[in-house]
Subunit: 261 residues, 2 copies
């Protein structure tokens, strides 16, 4: 299986601390040696870094963990391959353009019978079940809603529909998901996904997977709201909220905008 | 204006030397301070690095210039903005999926009336004339040829058609282009583009923009063939071939597979 990491914030925030925790699980404290990737949104643009080497040994991962790239939405993934060989094109997160937006998708789990999913015009580049599920989801969104204006007219209806499509994937196998179109961060839990929102008064946090402590009070203002979502809690001195199987949460600028179980 | 850099090779080759020369023009020896990007193909996958900061000051650019990422096709671009603000989504090269292939596109020049170009289902994320031209070109390719098998049946016919579409863009303004779908590297010259093929016996090369010399004989085998394409020659002790206005060259594994003026 794989591990997921996501961030939603109301001010551009770096992911260095959480990413350091995650990358130690990529061949260090965890078995996820088959590549890693991270996407940072900056405006409508993205920075994507990925490598088919284990994150704990990756020069690029070291740069990402040390160089503060600030973003309001980030999605990361470390991989332990089950479907699809170890290669760059099979490395999450996957990115596709739809309606002039960069959509990003990362999956932890394994799906049966993905070949049955109709994909519309979205063709997978690699051979993972995950990228195929992403293409299917994009095609569903495109053909059901047509354009972003239709979605904006009734966003809650759209979010309910997203959850139903996630439920459909869950019926095919383990489906823990993080995805985004650059404004909202969508989290769907099938077996394990946990999250924490940090806001004033900020305290100190201690990584579970590396000897690293950060005092968020030194790096934030009193208005900052930052939510981090991960497969397992990344820190050992904070209280993380475990998502329920079938739970879908929409994060907007660090806050929960919508949730449905 | 901007500067382009491309590489086509028959063995995975790093771009460190050429990229070092290019990045010095991004705010150092050249005025191209408005961002930079590079795409490396690895199998069907890509690594993309981009930054809206000047390349000469960019931490990410430093990593790319020092850490040998080996690839048979790479495309890079440094930007001096004319159309579209300085932002990540306006930073070349642009990448889109078509037919399960990652297509990459970088442009040096400026096009008039790009809003008149029909784009089909490909929507620009940013606001550059270049990304719009890329979306138009992809739509043309998709609707004229339908799938990669049709192209493979008569590749020369396809290449002739690509050149006609590049000519159409050239009629709209300066159009120096590098693009690829991962196998072939396409170069189109409207005003300036130059290239060099290095093969055994390999010699020493001296960068024009930085004090750096490399002896390619130490890093290659006698079968290696590596072509580098750039806006202006990157070295001052080798003989580069200047492309003619309207000339279109297809590079395949370092060799010229097709050319048409």
């Amino acid at each position: 299986m794989c591990e997921l990491l996501g961030m939603s914030a109301n001010v551009p925030t770096d992911l260095c601390f959480s990413f350091t925790g995650l990358l130690h699980r990529g061949g260090g404290t965890g078995p996820h040696r088959d590549g890693w990737g991270v996407v940072f949104y900056e405006g409508k643009g993205i920075r994507a870094f990925r490598d088919s080497a284990p994150s704990v040994e990756s020069e690029i991962a070291k740069l990402v963990s040390q160089f503060p790239m600030k973003s309001c939405i980030a999605i990361s993934h470390i991989r332990e391959a089950n479907v699809g060989v170890v290669s760059l094109e099979n490395t999450h997160p996957f990115v596709r353009e739809l309606w002039g937006q960069n959509w990003t998708f990362a999956h932890n789990g394994q799906l049966a019978n993905v070949d049955d999913l109709p994909l519309g015009e979205f063709t997978p580049v690699g051979t993972t079940d995950s990228e195929r599920a992403f293409c299917w989801l994009l095609a569903k969104i495109k053909y059901r809603f047509g354009d972003p204006d239709t979605i904006a007219e009734d966003r809650v209806n759209y979010w309910r529909q997203l959850k139903r499509w996630c439920d459909h994937l869950k019926d095919m196998g383990v489906t823990n998901l993080l995805f985004s179109e650059g404004r909202y961060l969508y989290a769907y839990c099938s077996t394990k996904l946990t999250w924490i929102t940090r806001r004033a008064p900020f305290g100190e946090a201690q990584l579970s997977d590396a000897e690293m402590t950060v005092d968020f009070g030194e790096h934030t203002t009193c208005n900052d709201v930052v939510t981090v979502i991960a497969t397992k809690p990344l820190t050992n001195n904070e209280s993380w909220t475990q998502m329920e199987p079938g739970e879908f949460i929409v994060f907007d600028q660090g806050e929960v905008a919508f949730s449905l179980s």
